[in-house]
Every structure is written in C-alpha cells, then in structure tokens.
C-alpha cells in the first residue's frame, strides 16, 4: 500500500510515521524515490554546489602537486592556481591495495577528477631484464608497464552510485526472513530484490555528528574494558601504516583480538613456508629470470594477483627476432587458464594429480642430476600417437631435461590452491635447481612494528560462540560473503551486540553488523603499501571522498583512541621511519611525485634459511583421466574479473569477457567435451553438482582442453547484496568452501537437468554445428598465424608467406591515399602492430579501451543478443588436430586442443570497405590514414558494419550512455545503472555516442591530436616516436601493441611492420589494414610437438611474384617517399 500519491512533496508528517512503523519495503522504496538519498540517486543527490566544492578541493591539491591535503581548502576557485590549464590532464603517482593486488598507478586527473589509471612506468619493481628489441635502444621512450583490468576498473568503482554514502545503524533485530535468506535459504533470483530491500531498509541513517559520537562512545567503551571482548577483523595487508596502527592498538589493548581475514588465503603456501621455518616469508617469481617456466595449476598470467607484473616479465623473454631464442612455458593444469593459452606446451591434468606430476618431475630431475644430465628423451614416436599416460611421462621427461639444462634459470610454480605438501615439494625442487633467489623469490615480511599474533576467522567464530566477543570492528571487505559459508560468519557477526563495519557497499556483511560506516575508496584516502620487492609506496587521495567515506586508518585510530593527526601525517610518519628516520617536506613531495621509496625494505631468504631436508616426498599416484560419476573432481578458482566477489558491482568487470570462456555476467561449471558427453551434460542447460552432500545447480559450459573428469567453477558470483549491478548475477559456490581446506574436491557427482539457462558469451564456439567447427579449424591458421620457434628460425617469414593469397592484389583505380602520400610526405601515417607472440589475452587492453573511449556497458541481455560494445575484443580460437578428431570421437573429444588469442579492433584499412558504402559519408579517411567516424553525421544505416570483414564496428541499438533511453530499462534493470556511472567516469576528450550511431576504434584519435598539439607547441611539430600511445598500448603488460608513424622508417612500428613475422589479417581482400599482426611462436620442445607443429604447412614458392617480395623492399626506404606505408601485399613497393 502506498500512501496517497497526491501528497507529493508536501506529504503530511503522520503518513510517514505510521508507515514507518509498519516499515513496509514498498513504502521504503517509495520514500527513497520521493526523497532521493545521495547514496541511491547519485549524482542527482549531490548538489551542484557540493560538486563544485569537491572539484575545487581536488583541484587545489592537484595544482599544489605536493598534494597537501587540508580540510580547510574546500573553496571553489576564485582565482585559478598558477600553471593550471583547464582541460589539460595532470598525472599523479599513487599506490594502493586493490582486490588482493598492489597497484602502482599513474592516475590521469582531469580538472580535479581522476578518470583513468595506468601503470607507473617509472616504478622500479616493474623493471625487467630484457634483451633489447631495438637496434637503437629506444626502450625508454616506449616504457610501458601495463596494468591489469581489475586495477584499471577501480576507477569505475570510485564513481559507483551504489557505494555506501551514509552511515547506517541497524535495528537490533533483523527480520527473520532476511536472516534465513542470509543463511543461504531461498536464494532464487526472484527473492533477491525483495530481500535486499528488507535488509537495506532495516536501518536508520546516521548523520556525521552521530557517527562521531558513536565512535567516541565506542572508543570509551573499548578503553573501559581494556580491549577485552573486542575483535578487529582486518584484511591481510602490506600497508606499513596499517600494520603500525594495528601494532599500536595491540600494544594499547593486548587483550583485544586481531582477526586476519584473507579472501584467498594463500594458506597452503604460508603453511608450507611456516613448516620450512619461514613463517613470515612471501613467495613470488621473477619470470624474466627464468628460461624455463613450469606452471603446475598455477595461473601466473591470469588470476594471480601479480599477473600483470608476471606477464610483463614473461614478455621480456619472448623476443625471438633479436635474440633468436625464447623462454619456454609449460603449463600442466586442469582448467584452461590464461597461462595455459599462453604456454608453449600445455597438458591437461586434474588438479588433484598435480602433486603426483610434481613428484615425478622431481624424481626425473634427480635421476638426471645423478646421471647423464643432457640425455635426450625418447621421442621416437610422434607425440600425437601417444597414449595419455605416455604423454604425461614424456612431458615429465622433457620438463626434467629443460630444468636441468637451465639450472638456476628455471622456475617451477604451483598454484596457491594446491596443498601445502605440494608447495613444499615445489620449493625443494626449486632449491635443488638453484632457482631460489633467482626466478623464485622469497622475501621476509616481518612486522617491524611489533608482533600482532592474529587469529583466523574460524577461531574468531569459535570465540563468538563462547560469547567472548562483545565488540567487533570489521575493517575487512565483506568477509560474510567471501569467507566459506560453513563458518556461519553471518550468524557470528549478528550475535555480537556491538559491531561496526567499514563498508564499501550495503553488502552481506553490512546486513549483519549493527553499525555500518561508509569506507573511502583507495583513490580518496591516504594509504601505503610495500610490494614483494620491498619497495614502499604511498597512496595519495586524488579527490575528496565523494560520499563522505573514511579510511580504515582513520576509523581504527578513532576507535582505538590512538593519537592521530590525520591520515596524511600518519602515513608520512610511517614513511619517515621506513626511510630512515626523517623526511623533509621536499623528500615527502618527491616520494609522492615518484610514488616509491628507493629502498628495499624486505630482506630475501636464501636456501640456507629453509629446512628443506625435512620435506616429505609425495608418492606419485597414477594420473587419472576419469570422468565417471563419483570420480570427478571440482576445483573452485578465483573469478577472472570479480576477485572474491567484491567487484561484483563493477559493470566493466562484469561485462569483461572471461579470457577463455568469453562468458560475461556469469559463472558456470566448466567441463571438457568428453566429460560432458559421458555425463550427458548439455551446454546451456543446468546441471546439479553435488559435493559432500551439498548440491548446487550450475549452468554447464563446455571448454575443450579442460582436464577429463575435472569440473571448474569460479567463485565470487551470486552476490545477493551487491548493488544494482552485481546483485543476483551468477551462482554462489562459497557453500562448498571449507575453512582451511583447499578448494579442490573429490568424490563429486553431477547430474544433468533439463533446465535451460542463458549464458551470455561474446563468442560462441562449440555451440555450433560440425560444419561450422570444421570451417573454423580450417580458417583460423590463416587468421591467427602461428608456428614453432624452430620453424621461425628456419623460415623467419613463414607467417606472411604460408598463407599468402595466390593472386596478386591490384586496385582498379588509384587510391586517394597514394596521392596524399606523394604530395604530403610530411604527414604522419598511423599504424599499429600487435605481437601475438607476446599477447596472452589478459583483457587489460579491452578494459583500457572501455575506460578511455567511454564505451558503454550493455548488460547481460544485450550481450546475449550479440550487442556488446567493446571496441577492442580478444578473439579466442580453439584449435585441434582435425584429422585425428574426425577419426576419433569427433568434436565430442577434440584431439590436441590449443588456444590462440588475437586482439581485434578496427584495423584502419587504407581502402576501407566501410567508407565506400556509407551513404552519408559519416565514416571517412583522414589524411593520416585513420578511418574516422563522424558521429554527428551518422544516421545508422549499419551498412558499414555489414561490409566490415573484421566486424569491429559497434552499433548503439539503444541509448546506452544516457538516461534518456525511454522504455530501455525494461529489458534488464541492471542496465539502468550504467547510465549514471558513466556520467562521472566519462573521459571528456571523447564524444559520448547516443543511440542509433555506429562507433568503433579510432586509434585513440584524441590522444593522437593531443600528441600533435604538444609536438607543435614544444618542437618542430614532428611527433616523436612513442610520444603518442593508444590506451590499449599503454595498458598492455606485455608490450604487445605498438602504435606509431609508418611514414617514418625509423619508428618502432615501421620496423615491426617489416618484421618477417608481420602479416595482415585478411590481406587477400586488398583492404590494406593499418594494423598488422606479428605471428605467434611456440617454443615447443621437439618431443612434444603435435602433428601440426611437427609438420607445419609448406611455404608455397611464389617465385618472382612481385606481390610478396615487399618485406625485402623495406630495407631501402630512401628510394621512394612512401615505401614504409603499409604495403604488405600490394605490388607497388
């Protein structure tokens, strides 16, 4: 029942009171609509004046560049600060912890508003020891370190209107219904909204004064009980300031409990190190120091929090053009990971058998080290002819050979979810191989501020049960959802009489805590961190807290009654102590400017400190390939995009296609085609997965290359109180997790159901007919050209030649570009290369493009319709041995599956097919060779998209970007959110497209123009090579993308264009793309080559055919003006 609508704004007081007593959810909803709160309706809730204040404040410290942060400076500009040019971005170095990773970022701030993050290129921990890729050593100019997608997406979370904007005091009694709900009952999607409303509305808002009162009252209470009965739940952190504050708190209240929460506890790793006598050690790798990398169920380049850094290091070893050699990556894993797809050789093995594999590798290494170290392996039979068991054996022999041959320059990594025994074994093997201190780094992270002796959540729950906890301070991010459900942390927290939660959102934890205070985003607060290289960095606020949040430092200091003169002072004190006692103002400003302290804070641990002799060996059991009921295994792994689920309300990440499955907005049970066929599972139907008597229905997704009998599912989905984006997306599998136990389960049963479930993928492989699959297999080698390192060394130009068209491409008329090149040789001609040998398909570029170019999020329904808007996508193809697959069980069991990925955006064809068919000339060529879009002129015939062979054009079927899309929200309520987020996170340099308009990659034309303006202002107008970087290029951790001027033969891109590996995709269409790819190489050991790799297609001899001799033509540029322009296939050069 709604109160009479006619009351409107002048609603009478008593109406509100009566209904308030009833506290019906629909009334609450009505109230929210009638009196919009800042939290739910932002940005409308923030007045123009308040916004100006915020902007003004951020601008003032932006201009001061020392970033002094005084609360008093809340005035809008009356006079512009010196040196500030409106519309010109400023950049700030900052470091913060985000979803388990440490981000060293350079933040783009435009008129006081942070809009984009990229990796801090000067940060020493991102340096790699790489061979020079350039003859003239121009690395410095091109220094790009990249940043992973999750870190980049933090900027969207900053502007998330769903973030908690006001402190909430909950009623002591939460409705029984919601209690049951939070305990996991009734988790069907229909009840989500109703329940969320109840939980959200069961509290009253608190004003800032009340919050201050609350904090001081709580502080007194803690003081009066001397901390006994008080627990502080914090998330594991590297922040020295946080650790110092915790130590101070602990010192003051020794009876207070410190509870450490780790969303993905690396507990097996930590347990292993503990048992080896290094409890505070931290394990990390240097991939650039390894020639041979063996990843055993370890997704080093994908879900690992340090993946971007590892990818950066990995790519340093992928430059065969200058060095003639490459590192070698073996991946042995159950699910197909990013690492697996980047690997030179991959073997699917169940996660539970990884220990056995490792034990056998160690035995083989031992045998070699004792005997003939370089004894060749028996490779008489081709690898493809071997049985599974023989394949495993040969793989192990090959790995052992490589490891021993590269002693001290190799690396054996084991996934953090593997048991401690396996971790210990890996450490011992690495030690034997002399890798410790080289590619395997162990550093000691003692708490220099004092021992904290934290307990874990399980113990905390036990203490609560024993009624020993009266007060809980929750500083960790949503442990009620992230922690294993079997802990019943909900009930435990709910039972505590006084609990304060520092929350990002009104989430699952907020629902069970008494007081919920809004937290500041890392870009709004002072913080610090130390990364595994021991480098200290400060996190500085880029903007005043938009929604009035506070940081954990501020809250804990307040509650602990610890002298605290503002977070900045506190962090600076910490920094000063770490820097050796004192930091002058100038030094402090320097630290903020560069973002790091050049001083290693963490000592390395060497072999001698580890008790490796005591490591027990694992008895290698037989390695199974069993997909019968009850013998299955289930592996729960972190989400590629949502981490532990805390990023569920980030629409960019929800819509980011998962690297291998290309799934968006969902998680699914991944199974191999054969396992699916054995169990009768169908893609797109749900299946009941049962572990330890607890069953969850999950949609099935078939992934070729998944280990037989192994089911993988991502956690982090199925949030029931995430916000308007993430609530109810996907399936919650935390019910299976057990505290202190690895997320690998055996004895799993799976039964198919007939319930269809719609999964939204951006690519539909293996859901298509057999003819289609054959065609894909036939076509992909020409699209994504790939060879082995061996092949490359014999025929460096195999890629352009193998699949070169049999006819010569000749235009019937003169191309306009020819004239431009002839008459205006001074004009730059832009082009791009993408090195597939470096690309690992990590998605960083996709997200960077989305952030840079205001690419809208469209929601699950629209993705399922094939209307995703990403300008840059990563195509992923499965490849298999077609002949053997056809002889065998067909596509129910494809043989020798591999994955290739290929980023595809507009390739800016010189003779662009899209331009010729546009009736209104809305897409035209610039004189600099960019295929430009005039959005204002576009009327949306979509003919250009039909005629684009790469299908890189994206159409706005609805008004994705503004709120004016009438009726639009009907399809999917989630989509509405996007409209509000976008308005603040938008890049003002790029036009926001309305509905009915075509859009696509522009080579970041705004950056090109800015670069040109700068070149004109500061020099002779010539743009220096590397001065203009596209957003994707900047974000790429492996430097696979290079952009620049093709008309200048000295540029990096021009050099790469003439690389023998360079080829144009679909060159036979004579469209002359300006983006070329460099062929991928796999450094496969001889004995492990599959049939395709062992017998690569022959290079046809085209004799004097002029069309293909162009690569030689590049050496003598001086002869003609436009020799370097992309003429990879024309007859002209």
């Amino acid at each position: 029942m709604n109160p009479p609508t006619k009351t409107g704004n002048g609603m009478k007081r008593y109406f509100r009171s009566i209904a308030d007593l009833e506290n019906r959810p629909e009334f609450q909803e009505f109230l929210q609509r009638e009196f919009p709160q800042a939290a739910s309706e932002f940005p409308e809730g923030v007045s123009r004046r308040r916004w100006l204040q915020l902007m003004g404040a951020s601008l003032s410290f932006g201009a001061a560049s020392g970033c002094r942060y005084y609360k008093e400076e809340f005035a809008a500009f009356t006079a512009a600060p010196e040196g500030r040019i409106p519309g010109v971005p400023t950049y700030f170095a900052t470091n913060f912890e985000w979803a388990g990773r440490i981000v060293h970022a350079l933040v783009t701030s435009l008129d006081g508003r942070p809009i984009q993050l990229r990796g801090n290129p000067d940060h020493p921990s991102l340096d790699v020891s790489a061979a020079s890729e350039f003859q003239d050593g121009k690395e410095k100019q091109f220094k790009q370190v990249g940043l992973d997608a999750i870190s980049q997406a933090s900027i969207l979370s900053l502007y998330d209107p769903d973030r908690l904007g006001e402190a909430v005091a909950h009623r002591a009694d939460v409705d029984t219904a919601s209690k049951a709900f939070l305990n996991g009952e009734g988790t069907d999607s229909n009840s989500y909204n109703a329940m969320a409303a109840i939980v959200r509305n069961s509290g009253t808002k608190m004003d800032p004064d009340t919050v201050q009162e609350l904090i001081s009252k709580a502080s007194q209470e803690i003081a009066s009980s001397l901390g006994s009965g008080t627990a502080v739940i914090y998330e594991s952190t590297s922040s020295p300031s946080m650790l110092r504050l915790l130590a101070q708190f602990h010192e003051k209240y020794p009876d207070a409990l410190l509870v450490k929460y780790e969303p993905f506890d690396g507990s097996p790793v930590r347990d292993a190190l503990k048992s080896l006598g290094a409890p505070t050690a931290k394990l990390s790798y240097r991939l650039d120091a390894a020639k041979v990398i063996v990843a055993l169920d370890a997704d080093l380049l994908g879900t690992d929090p340090m993946a971007a850094r590892y990818a950066h290091q990995f790519a340093a070893g992928r430059t065969p053009d200058t060095t003639g050699s490459m590192n070698r990556l073996y991946a042995i894993e159950s699910l197909y990971s990013v690492t697996g797809s980047a690997a030179d050789f991959r073997l699917p093995v169940r996660s539970s058998d990884i220990g056995s594999v490792l034990a056998r590798i160690e035995a083989a290494v031992d045998a070699r080290m004792a005997g003939d170290r370089a004894a060749p392996i028996d490779a008489a039979t081709p690898f493809s002819e071997l049985s599974f068991e023989d394949r495993v054996e040969r793989t192990i022999q090959s790995i052992a050979l490589d490891l021993v041959a590269n002693e001290g320059a190799s690396l054996v990594a084991v996934g953090a979810h593997q048991p401690a025994a396996v971790q210990r074994l890996a450490l011992r093997l690495n030690s034997k191989l002399g890798n410790l201190g080289g590619a395997v780094r162990l550093v000691d992270t003692p708490n220099v501020w004092g021992q904290l002796k934290p307990i874990d959540l399980a113990e905390f729950v036990q203490r609560v049960r024993d009624s020993k906890i009266k007060t809980a301070i929750v500083l960790a991010n949503n442990p009620a959802f992230g922690a294993p459900r079997s802990l019943s942390l909900n009930n435990a927290l709910e039972g505590i009489p006084f609990s304060i939660y520092l929350a990002d959102y009104a989430d699952e934890t907020a629902a069970v805590c008494r007081y919920v205070l809004p937290a500041a985003h890392p870009l709004e607060a002072w913080s610090d961190c130390v990364d595994v290289d021991g480098i200290y960095g400060v996190g500085q606020p880029l903007i005043e807290p938009l929604l009035g949040g506070r940081s954990a430092l501020e809250l804990l200091a307040g509650l602990g009654g610890i002298p605290f003169d503002g977070a900045e002072r506190y962090v600076r004190e910490t920094a000063a102590q770490l820097a050796g006692g004192n930091l002058s103002d100038r030094q402090w400003r320097e630290l903020l400017h560069s973002g790091y302290l050049t001083r290693n804070l963490l000592p390395s641990i060497s072999n001698k400190d580890l008790k490796l002799d005591e490591v027990a060996s694992i008895d290698p059991a037989s390695i199974k390939q069993d997909s019968t009921q009850g013998n299955l295994e289930l592996v729960i792994y972190p989400s590629d995009t949502l981490f532990d689920g805390r990023l569920a309300n980030n629409a960019w990440l929800q819509e980011l296609p998962q690297p291998v499955t290309k799934l968006t907005w969902d998680n699914a049970a991944l199974v191999s085609p054969k396992t699916a066929a054995t169990l009768g599972l169908k893609q797109g139907n749900k299946a009941t997965v049962k572990v330890d008597g607890f069953a969850i229905d999950l949609p099935v997704f078939i992934v070729p290359g998944q280990a037989e009998g192994s089911i993988a599912v991502q956690r982090g989905y199925g949030r029931f109180l995430a916000g308007s984006v993430g609530t109810g997306v996907g399936h919650d599998v935390a019910g299976w997790l057990k505290p202190g136990k690895e997320p690998i389960f055996s004895g799993v049963t799976v039964s198919p159901t007939a319930v269809p479930y719609r999964l939204a993928t951006t690519q539909d492989h293996f859901a298509i007919d057999e003819g289609g699959l054959e065609e894909i297999a036939r076509r992909t080698p020409t699209l994504v050209r790939e060879g082995t390192l061996k092949q490359f060394l014999e025929h460096p130009d195999f890629a352009p030649k193998t699949y070169a068209p049999h006819h010569s491409n000749e235009s019937l008329w003169k191309e306009p570009i020819d004239k431009i090149e002839a008459e205006m040789p001074f004009l730059p001609q832009w082009g791009m290369t993408i090195d597939l040998n470096k690309c690992i398909g990590c998605n960083a570029c996709v997200l960077a493009c989305q952030a840079e170019n205001n690419v809208p999020v469209v929601g699950k329904d629209q993705v399922a319709r094939g209307r995703e808007m990403h300008w840059l996508r990563i195509d992923r193809y499965f490849q298999c041995d077609m002949d053997k697959t056809k002889q065998g069980a067909g596509f129910d069991d494809p043989t020798d599956v591999t994955i290739v990925s290929q980023p595809v955006a507009c390739v800016h064809c010189e003779t662009a097919p899209c331009e010729q068919v546009c009736p209104v000339a809305a897409t035209v060529h610039t004189e600099e060779g960019i295929n430009a879009m005039a959005y204002n002129r576009c009327i949306g015939t979509r003919y250009c998209a039909n005629n684009c062979p790469y299908k890189v054009r994206r159409f706005n079927y609805y008004n994705y970007n503004t709120e004016y899309g009438y009726f639009y929200g009907w399809q999917d309520w989630r989509e509405k959110v996007n409209t509000k987020l976008q308005s603040l996170v938008l890049n003002p340099e790029v036009t926001v497209r309305g509905r009915g308009v075509m859009e696509k990659c522009t080579y970041c034309i705004q950056r090109v123009q800015n670069g040109k303006i700068q070149a004109r202002q500061q020099g002779d107008g010539r743009v220096q090579d590397g001065a203009i970087q596209t957003a994707c290029q900047e974000a790429c951790p492996t430097q696979a993308i290079v952009f620049g001027n093709l008309a200048d033969p000295s540029t990096r891109v021009a050099q790469l264009f003439s690389s023998p590996r360079s080829y144009a995709m679909l060159e036979e269409l004579n469209i002359k793309p300006r983006t070329q790819y460099l062929a991928r190489l796999r450094n496969v050991p001889d004995g492990l080559m599959n049939r395709m790799q062992a017998n690569p297609p022959e290079i046809p001899d085209h004799g004097g055919h002029g069309g293909h001799g162009d690569h030689e033509g590049h050496s003598d540029h001086g002869d003609h003006d436009h020799a370097t322009i992309s003429r990879p296939v024309s007859n002209k050069s």
Binding site: D764, T780, G866, Y877, G965
Partner: protein, 474 residues
C-alpha cells in the same frame, strides 16, 4: 450479397478460354460483353455496397496497419534494439521485408509498361490492379529502409539537398544512395503512370456519380476529361511515352536494390549474378502476388469474364518461366562458389544449405524452385484455387530467399569469432504482419473507390476482338 451483373445477357459463368485454337486468337473478354456491360460490371464494384467479406477483411487489415503504425512509434521512441538485429547480423527482417516488397512491386509496371510496349493485349484486364498493387507494395517497401536507420529522424540526409550549414552532399559511391534514387524514381513514375491511365475511367466514375461529393472528388481527379478525340490522341501519346520511360525502371530498380548486396564484399552478397537474378525473382514474386490478389477479387466481384482464365494462365506461365530462372540462378551461385575456389564464398553457400539456417534455405528452394514447376501441368494453370496455393508458396519462398541472402550471409562471414545466430523479436514479426496490413488496407480501399479494371482499355481490345476479321489480315 455479391455484386452482380445487371444485364442478363452477360454470362456469369466461368468460360474456359485457355484452349489454343489454331488460326484463331482466343478471346480476351468472354461472356458476350459489350461496352456498356463492361462499364456496368466494373463500376458496380465501387458503386454497389461492399460485401460483408470486404468489411471483415478491412477491419482485420486496417487493425494490423494501425498496429504497424504504433510499432513504428514504439521503435522511434525506444531504438532499433527492439528488433533482433545484432552483430554480425546488422541487417535483418526490416531489410528482408524491404526487398520482398520492392520485388512484389515489380509486376505492375512490367505488366503495364513492358507488355504495353510489346502490344500484349491481355494486359488490359489486369494492369490496373497490378499497378495499384505495385504502388502499395512500394509504399510498404519504402517504409522499411526509412525506419530501419538508427536515427530515423535524420533519414532525409540520404537525399541530396543543398544545405547551408552542412556544406556537403551524400556519398554517391554508396549503393544505399543509389537505392534512394532508384526506388524514388520507380515509385513516382509508377504513380504517375497508374494515375494517368486511370483518368478516362475516373471520368466515367464522375459521370455516373449520383452524389455531389464523389462527383466533385472524381471530377477533380479526372482533370476535366471529356473524351474528345484530341484528348484521346494526347492521352495515348503520353501513355506510350510514360510506358517507354517506365520500362527500363522495371529492370533498374531491382538491379540497384541488388547492388546493396552485390557491391559489398560480404561472401554470399558479393556476386555478379545478383542483378538479373534479383530482377527475375522480383517478376516472379510480383506475378505471384498479382495472382494471389486477382483470383479472389475476380471471384468476389464477379469479374471472371474480364479477368479470364486465360489471363491467369498467362501469368502462371510467366511464374513458371521466372521461377525456373530463379532456380537456375541458385544453381549458378553454387557452381560459381565451387568453381571460383574462393574459400569464404564456398563456405557461405555450404552454410546456407547445411548450416544452422538450413531450414530457411530448403523452404526457399522448395517454394521457389519446386512449387512453380507444377505449372507445367495444365490442371494447375487453369484451376484458380490451385494457382493461389502455388502463388502463396512462391510468395513465402521469395520472402525466405531474401532472408537467406541477407541473414545467413551476414551471420557467418570472415572471422569466425564474430559469427552469430540471429533470431527475430516479437517486433520483427509484428512489423512484417503489419506491413501486410498496410498493403491490404490500401488494396481494399482501391477496390472500394477506384476502377479496378481499366475499362477504356478493355473496351479497346473488345473492339479488336469484335472486328477481328478486319484487323487480322493487315
């Protein structure tokens, strides 16, 4: 109930004039018709109260037309996302419908212009209705590309108009622009041709009107026609000139429509056979639609002696011929796909026949290639009921032909990563139905208010027939 002939001397039964008698031309008007009875028969279609069936049909089709208009409103309000169009199938049902209706709109001008120039006298009984059908089909066709663009309110940018604030013309290399000219010219010439041919008959209507309002309206429309020799002379000249002008349009319009596809580089679209193949298909579908409309119309309005079995049979023969041409075109496409060794093209055609849209392909083949072959049998050519069934099949088949060309080619082009499967939404389906509503509403109004048979021209061939022995030996 039904309109009946007042004059008893006119036979109202069906007369089979399809028999070929050597040395003698078959009569084109049967049943002892005279000038007067022809006037009576045709005028009463509009003058007499319409049968209940007309009201029923009109109620249904005008409701569907209204639905169509409302859906266009919904579309404009919301965005083209209400359709199933997606990436890679950026063009789907709306374009299929456009090409389908343009194709239908072919028969009218072919009958009126080309058959006129070739002195095919049997055209006279059917040309008026066929031309009307053409106009209405072109109206239906014209709606779709207009509403199909993402920003329909700016669709006028497709036309070349001097604009002071833009300083630019459309892009003349785009086939879509050629389309605007081709369809625009075709629609205007067809309309003028149709209207001009109607002037003498409108004057007849004017003269027979008993009420002042129709007299005034028909009076204005007949432009002061008084039947003087001078008027007839000029009329005949103008008509011949217009026919000569319209004749190339019959070939040009669908040729240009086919360029929308053929000029692109999409496998399955980029084929040189498209212009003749599209024209043949258009004539094929146009005649099928004429048959579908005329068989019930001559029955309801008792026009069997004007639109005789022989007329229908002739149309069946054209359908048979063009249907076979279309079948040949399908086979040629496959041959070329194989012969050219272009891997993308060969896959596209294999995919059409055996891919996920195999059903659409085989519906097309069975309707377009197999069903017209039934017209080899005299029985099918001379039984109106069977003709209608076959022609409806042909119409279904021709819609699917456009679906197959447009959607299956787009759904799987060069990069397999971008392949997709298109399925329509309720809006797509309703709009197709709604366009039929528009079409039938207009046609029913035509029956109600305008001369459905060109009286003056039929009278002309009646004269030839009655004085056959004079003219035969010239």
């Amino acid at each position: 109930m039904f309109a009946t002939n007042a004059d008893s001397q006119v036979l109202s039964t069906e007369i089979d004039n399809t028999e070929e008698t050597p040395g003698r031309r078959a009569p084109l008007v049967t049943g002892n018709h005279t000038y007067h009875t022809i006037t009576e028969t045709v005028c009463r279609v509009a003058e007499q109260p319409q049968p209940k069936l007309w009201y029923l049909l009109f109620a249904v089709s005008s409701s569907l037309a209204l639905m169509f208009v409302l859906l266009i409103g919904y579309l404009f309000y919301t965005g083209v996302g209400v359709w199933g169009n997606m990436s890679p199938v950026f063009w789907a049902w709306p374009i299929v419908n456009f090409v389908f209706w343009v194709g239908i709109g072919h028969a009218g001008t072919l009958i009126s212009a080309i058959l006129f120039l070739f002195r095919q006298n049997w055209r006279t009984s059917i040309n008026r209705a066929a031309e009307a059908m053409t106009i209405f089909a072109v109206i239906c066709a014209g709606i779709f590309p207009g509403i199909h663009v993402g920003r329909a309110w700016l669709a006028f940018w497709l036309t070349p108009y001097p604009s002071l604030n833009l300083w630019m013309w459309p892009q003349f290399r785009s086939p879509l622009l050629w389309d605007v000219f081709a369809v625009g010219t075709y629609a205007s010439v067809s309309l003028v041709f149709w209207y001009m041919g109607m002037i003498p008959d409108l004057a007849t209507f004017r003269d027979r009107s008993k009420h002042w309002l129709p007299r005034m309206v028909y009076g204005i429309l007949s432009l002061g026609w008084n039947g003087s020799s001078r008027q007839w002379l000029r009329y005949e000249k103008a008509y011949t000139l217009l026919a000569a002008l319209a004749a190339p349009l019959v070939l040009s319009v669908h040729t240009v429509v086919s360029f929308d596809f053929a000029v692109s580089q999409l496998p399955g679209w980029h084929t040189t056979i498209f212009p003749p193949y599209f024209v043949a298909g258009a004539i094929f579908s146009g005649f099928a639609m004429v048959l579908t409309l005329l068989v019930p119309m001559r029955k309801i309005y008792r026009l069997e002696n004007l639109i005789t079995l022989r007329h229908l049979e002739n149309m069946c023969k054209i359908i048979l011929a063009t249907g076979t041409l279309v079948g040949l075109a399908y086979a040629t496409e496959f041959f070329i796909a194989w012969y050219s060794k272009n891997p993308y093209e060969s896959y596209t055609f294999m995919n059409r026949a055996f891919g996920p849209y195999w059903w659409a392909y085989w519906i097309m083949v069975s309707c377009n290639v197999i069903s017209p072959q039934l017209f080899w049998f005299k029985k099918f050519r001379s039984t109106p009921f069977l003709m209608v069934i076959v022609s409806i099949f042909v119409n279904i088949g021709m819609w699917f032909e456009r679906f197959v060309i447009t959607v299956t080619s787009l759904s799987r082009d060069f990069l397999p990563s971008s392949w997709g499967y298109y399925s329509p939404t309720w809006v797509d389906i309703s709009m197709l139905i709604g366009s039929f509503g528009i079409f039938f509403t207009l046609f029913l109004l035509f029956c109600r208010f305008l001369p459905v048979v060109a009286m003056s021209e039929v009278k002309g061939i009646l004269a030839i027939q009655n004085h056959g022995h004079h003219t035969d030996h010239h």
